[in-house]
Symmetry: D2
Subunit: 297 residues, 4 copies
């Protein structure tokens, strides 16, 4: 499908569908207040997931998917109306339109399996995203990306030019970016960059974190003789490979597998794990609290 077609499919499928994400200190009456608010505003709850970290004095999280006939034109009014409840319960909250595609930027490098998986899922109509650009420090994937009508920016990085390149990246992304996916980008971003896109940069680490932090995890896994390898999708923070984990998966290996075999098998896991994390982000299924995620699947 083309970008236009993908967008129109989701626009139709999700017309009138909204998502409400709330996190606040737990106390009595939250669900009653929120569900009454929705009911009185003509919104019908389609799905609701909630979680309380600890019944006594803990934190409360809820994700509600609802339908309201004319939501697209009335959502701002709804948000304003909700503010008094939000204040009363000290809520962190947002209401999003499911029909509105998120602007997604992909950072890629030489290894293109994660990039391909994302493009594929998007093209298959599984991902309500508008891929506004692909930025890569290599030029290898230009043809693949441009053939889908997506702009491709080749920005090589060296130790010396890192900050300068980041500046260019931010300029390119300005106004075009809801979130960023590091599809095996392999470059460490500056704290400044990370701060700017807090909880909006998803990375795929090619190990089952926290095992094998840092470089060459498959070599480390081979040396240690593990019987299972894995991959981890997480939000990027200043601490390398230590951000909130979104999703992990694993695959069984054996003594027969050398480093190359681990990498090959690993690519399958990485693809699946990253794709799932991106889908959940796009569908507003993830709430971050401290260094952990609450994922309502």
């Amino acid at each position: 499908m083309t970008a236009q077609k993908v967008a129109s499919v989701f626009e139709k499928k999700y017309q009138g569908v909204g998502r409400m994400l709330i996190s606040c200190p737990d106390r009595s009456g939250i669900v009653a207040a929120v569900s009454r608010f929705l009911y009185e505003n003509g919104a019908n709850i389609l799905q609701s997931d909630q979680y309380t970290q600890d019944p006594e004095g803990g934190r409360f999280f809820i994700r509600i998917e609802f339908y309201k006939e004319d939501l697209e034109s009335t959502v701002d009014h709804l948000r304003r109306e909700f503010m008094s409840i939000a204040d009363e319960f000290e809520m962190d909250w947002r209401i999003t339109l499911a029909s509105r595609p998120k602007k997604m930027v992909i950072f890629a490098s030489k290894e293109d399996h994660c990039l391909r998986e994302l493009l594929w899922n998007w093209q298959a109509g599984d991902l309500n995203a508008d891929i506004t650009m692909v930025i890569s420090n290599h030029d290898d994937s230009r043809e693949l990306v441009e053939s889908l009508g997506i702009p491709y920016h080749h920005l090589p990085v060296t130790a010396d030019t890192k900050l300068e390149v980041e500046k260019k990246q931010r300029e390119l992304m300005e106004g075009n970016t809801d979130f960023i996916v590091l599809a095996r980008y392999m470059q460490i971003l500056s704290p400044y960059f990370i701060e700017h896109y807090r909880n909006q940069v998803i990375n795929i680490h090619h190990s089952f974190l926290p095992a094998f932090i840092g470089g060459k995890p498959y070599n480390q896994a081979y040396e240690r003789g593990v019987k299972i390898i894995g991959a981890t999708a997480h939000y990027v923070t200043e601490d390398l490979d230590a951000g909130p984990i979104i999703e992990q998966n694993v695959s069984r290996v054996s003594h027969r597998d050398n480093v190359e075999d681990l990498k090959k098998e690993g690519r399958h896991i990485e693809r699946i794990v990253l794709a799932r994390a991106v889908l959940w982000h796009v569908e507003d299924r993830i709430l971050v609290h401290k260094n952990k995620t609450v994922v309502f699947t």
Copy 2:
């Protein structure tokens, strides 16, 4: 742990905790009505899961775990109060006390791995159940069962005595039974028996249903040369092996595995699958609708 100790642990852990299970035609305002009801009756929602089969004209399912200080002594009042809401929305519903152990009867036969797993989980304090008796058509497990202070009834079955034996079984269970677990019991129950305990008899079938319905599933699996075997826990209905599926799991096998190997590996899967289904039943996590289950895990 002894039966008494298990009971007292759960009594303390779950004091004041109630569970509300509702299924009804979907329409606006259900959650608002229910959550207001709980709020106004001094109950705090601990967890809530809901599911709508189909937003338009479908069926709505919800499971709410709540805390209310003096619930054990006021639950009947709460139930009476709820009736007007239940009527308004045409609800199938129940409110249960999490602190009250369910009376569980285990039917066993010669192969005791599933029986052992259940006894073990119960003894480890994972299962808030009162195992009121074990009924077996063999006498092999008497010592194991009686050593835990649980009554053991040896009732051999033949084609001729089947109905007579069922009568005895029902007499033994009368007043002592909330649900029954067929822990590889291997005898087909009469429609009369099944009707009497509708959605209260859990069976473990030693295949990944609907593959290999009927007898000797591991032999069938071996003949077919499958690369994965499985087990299925389901509620028993008049149609053999066709009742609502509660849980399934699988394990990888290869050409090297003969029928004995499949059985051995299968025993591990059966144990895990049955134990999980029983736990979910005990924790009121399963709603049955037509021939399917909604499991809120």
Copy 3:
């Protein structure tokens, strides 16, 4: 990578590497005879896997990967020399060159996820195959396939033209085909066609066989309320969906998943299962005996 580059990578990687696949009645001395033969002919065993179906009077299977310096130019001589041992032990056998790519034809239809996965693995250099053509009853994937330099033949099929189309297909494939992959082709092949390519046609069935044989397996799975779905790669035989199983895999689903969700999740499983089966076929890891496979992974 281009086709040429893929070929050259494998040519170099596998220079001198041969594979010996044998199945014969089990008796004493087989391994001794074969390994002495290889030793005396200057071949070094790299890997060896064997399996005996049943020690007493059963069938013996072995796969040996060996290295012999000038194998490519001497393999015919080696084959002739081996004949006397093969006769003595009544062996079904073959010796293949690992460096020689297999000629692979892909049959595709509208749903292209399996086609894409194969093209991708091939392009990533994971598959030592020469994809000589893609045949599809739809024209949708032409651009994708031709952009990789692979011929694309659009041959629509109706009930009336089936045999005629098969004739064209066989003409196109004549001399260009070592094996065929049905990448969700969805058309039933004639017994004549199947007979012609015995154990050389790999199909992906979108269920965990033998559950849900026939059409619309995800609809069947939804109706039955299974908690796990799967996919099965098998060699095609005259009996629909009943051929020797090569590989299966599964994924967990829940009551929340409707038929569309099952299909979406299923596509991931199908891709992985089919890709693995094709890889094993390409690497001569599969021996078929009666209606089962021995897979030496």
Copy 4:
């Protein structure tokens, strides 16, 4: 089954079955020499698995299961005969009798789920071992163990008495021990003890190593917010939690699971992983080289 019955089942099942385990520098002719040796000594190969770490100058590993009619009475002769081949190829090797049960000592502590699993598998006739004793630093499992006719030694440990207790343990085990299983023993053994039982002490670590080395791994896992937890069976070395890994497995968890939930789920994984590692050890399926295992399953 009783100990006597278990032993007699295996004695019958495995009469005449031997296992040959070899590791040596790789070179031409090893398989030819070994298979000719077996053939000439009237032994028929039942199964054979081999692995070469690296074809050029690497290490070669093989495990052969064979049948020889009067093996039990002639095995010493066979061993003597094999010495010249072993010397020629610089082999580390052993020939074992499959019918001879291994003497197994279990070290346990308060948490008994791993102990129970091992006893159960043994009792079910899955494990050809002679459990000569259970040593525990708590007295809780005495009844369970003694009811099966297995001696139980209660040896409490404190920081001060550690070495003294180890001395007692070694005295008790003297002549009664082929290998030791630490079934969640939770005490660190002295280097002296470990040296004495090199590659003969199997431990279960309650995390997916190398993640969460050291104490309280489930607490660590909870803090880190992982989405999958695991367990690892390994041979014990001087480096805590760093010995050769035998087997690992994992299970999916979510934000809903607190530390107690992780422990509960973890117990299931630990049981399965440890049981599998013990079975493989008993069946001579594990070869240790440097800090890794080759496991022929």
